[in-house]
């Protein structure tokens, strides 16, 4: 099929859609605003214990490799969509690529890391073959005169003189797989996030466990041995405008708890929850296996107090109504919220948003993955594939 497509976003859904489209012979421009593809999924830890827990995090590096190997997919990192015009079957898209650090030239030798005074250079995820410059931290992006990294780079990958390039492309269809934003736990002030260092989000626990073996996630030798997971932080919450279940939190929290216990068998885990969601192939077994290992309290804590240990105020049913309990780590299972970019994207692509703020597709523009609503990694991959299949069907219909 001679056609081309723009896929916005290189997370699980974008990867799934790009591969499916390319498989049907469609040229794909895979646009990613970050320095590497993979999205949030690339930062998650493998949650296998003695067994695979089906979190699908391991599929991300494989899918990344697959898109790199797919000749029909052109990967454009550090690139943003700045204009989309036209209609289904004929869109003119304008892209803008910032290329101070050319990932094709970077061989991750680390010389730039050594000279950067701000620690502004890092790897976006462990599979990123190239480094990236964190524009928030880099002083050169703030207008100061600094090019230490560019001078240290032996391959010329970093060059502050390299201009931003504008790219134009004509495509028949657009897939917006722009992802989501994890709920900002600071909004739940009383749960202590941002105030107490040992109150962290599930996402931070994922990343911390991904970088180490064991459970000493703070690197201070104080392994958390009594861990509380608070569910539904920013989900099922009308006040926060999130009157929906985020679908992923029960799964990742139970799996992360299982992983911590697997790495450190003495770890005690308490779940504060309303309803445990056990949907998804194979997950019911995961829940049944770890259910006896954890304590479950049906009640969401209202307040976390700091101190040497963290004190939770909660109302548990079954004989423990109003109580406090101390833990040495509190993990907030933050939900999936619409990306803050959605308003801008909706304007750019002329899309509508649903009552929660997730994007809705229209003719010729498809929305895949968590941009359209809460999904886990494998569901996002599958949704990307479904969306792409629908796009191909409509394209065939137009041609035939």
């Amino acid at each position: 099929m001679k056609a081309s497509a723009l896929v916005i976003g290189g997370g699980p859904a974008g990867l799934g859609a790009a591969l499916e489209l390319a498989g049907a012979g469609i040229k794909v421009y895979l646009v990613e605003k970050e320095a590497a593809v993979g999205g949030w999924g690339a930062r998650y830890v493998c949650k296998a214990t003695d067994k695979c827990r089906q979190c699908s995090a391991c599929l991300i590096p494989e899918k990344i490799q697959e898109v790199y190997q797919q000749p029909l997919v052109e990967i454009l990192t550090n690139t943003q969509v700045v204009g989309v015009e036209g209609e289904a079957g004929s869109f003119q898209v304008r892209l803008q690529r910032e290329q101070t650090l050319d990932p094709a030239l970077c061989n991750a030798c680390g010389k730039c890391l050594e000279v950067c005074p701000k620690g502004a250079i890092d790897r976006l995820n462990p599979w990123a073959a190239a480094y990236r410059i964190d524009k928030e931290k880099c002083v050169a992006f703030a207008g100061e005169d600094c090019d230490l990294c560019a001078r240290a780079c032996p391959t010329g990958a970093i060059n502050f003189q390299r201009p931003v390039v504008n790219l134009d492309a004509s495509v028949e269809l657009v897939v917006a797989a722009t992802g989501h934003q994890p709920f900002d736990a600071r909004r739940k002030y009383r749960l202590g996030y941002g105030r107490f260092p040992r109150v962290i989000t599930g996402l931070e626990l994922e990343e911390a466990l991904n970088e180490i073996e064991g459970t000493d996630i703070f690197g201070d030798g104080r392994k958390p041995l009594d861990v509380a997971f608070i569910q539904c932080v920013g989900s099922r919450d009308v006040q926060e405008g999130a009157a929906y279940c985020s679908r992923v939190c029960c799964k990742y929290a139970l799996r992360l708890a299982g992983l911590m216990r697997h790495r450190e068998p003495e770890t005690q885990v308490t779940f504060y929850y309303m309803d445990i969601q056990t949907g998804g192939k194979g997950f019911a077994e995961v829940y049944q296996e770890c259910r006896d290992d954890f304590a479950f309290v049906r009640g969401i804590p209202a307040r976390v107090e700091g101190g040497d240990r963290l004190k939770l105020h909660f109302d548990g049913v079954s004989g423990q109504s109003f109580a406090t309990r101390e833990h040495d780590l509190v993990v907030l299972s933050v939900g999936i919220t619409p990306s803050p970019d959605n308003a801008e994207l909706a304007r750019l692509l002329t899309l509508n948003r649903d009552e929660h703020g997730f994007l809705k597709g229209r003719e010729g523009i498809y929305v895949a993955g968590t941009a359209a609503g809460p999904r886990d990694i494998s569901e996002s991959l599958a949704h990307g594939m479904e969306t792409a299949a629908n796009a191909i069907i409509n394209l065939e219909g137009r041609e035939g």
């Binding site: 539904c232 099922r236 006040q239 009640g299 969401i300 804590p301 209202a302 909660f314 109302d315 109003f322």
Partner: protein, 154 residues
Amino acid sequence: MSVTATRLDPKFKYEVAAHPGGEEIKVCFACGVCTAGCPVSEIDPAYNPRKIIRMVLLGMREELLKSDLLWLCVNCYTCTAHCPQNVKFTNVIGALRDMAVKEGYVHPRFSGDVDEIDRFIQRLRRDMVLAAAQEKDAPTNLDPQGLLDQVTGK
């Protein structure tokens, strides 16, 4: 304690919902945040907003309306601020108190007394804060009993 079918009143929840202040009660999904944050529950665990809502939903009219617990709420609205489903429990308590009076579970005079107590507590609180504020440069140890004596004129 076993509650038998005949004593449960399925209409009760609708009556509370129809009462000014009780409108949102039915959407409670019993997450327990109200109780977990309640300053009264912290002192007297028998007072439990989540359970009070449950009693309404189950239709335990008599047990609830004649209960002393109904009158312990200090109207601080913490539960309302926390509730993820926007159940305004402080208003629900108001509605229930109202019903208790109307249906003769308590003497109307009692309701007036509670108002008096509330006003008295507000005065007491103000005086205690001001007393502390006057000495806020110096390290003080509050003496609540002394302050209480002062206010009540003992």
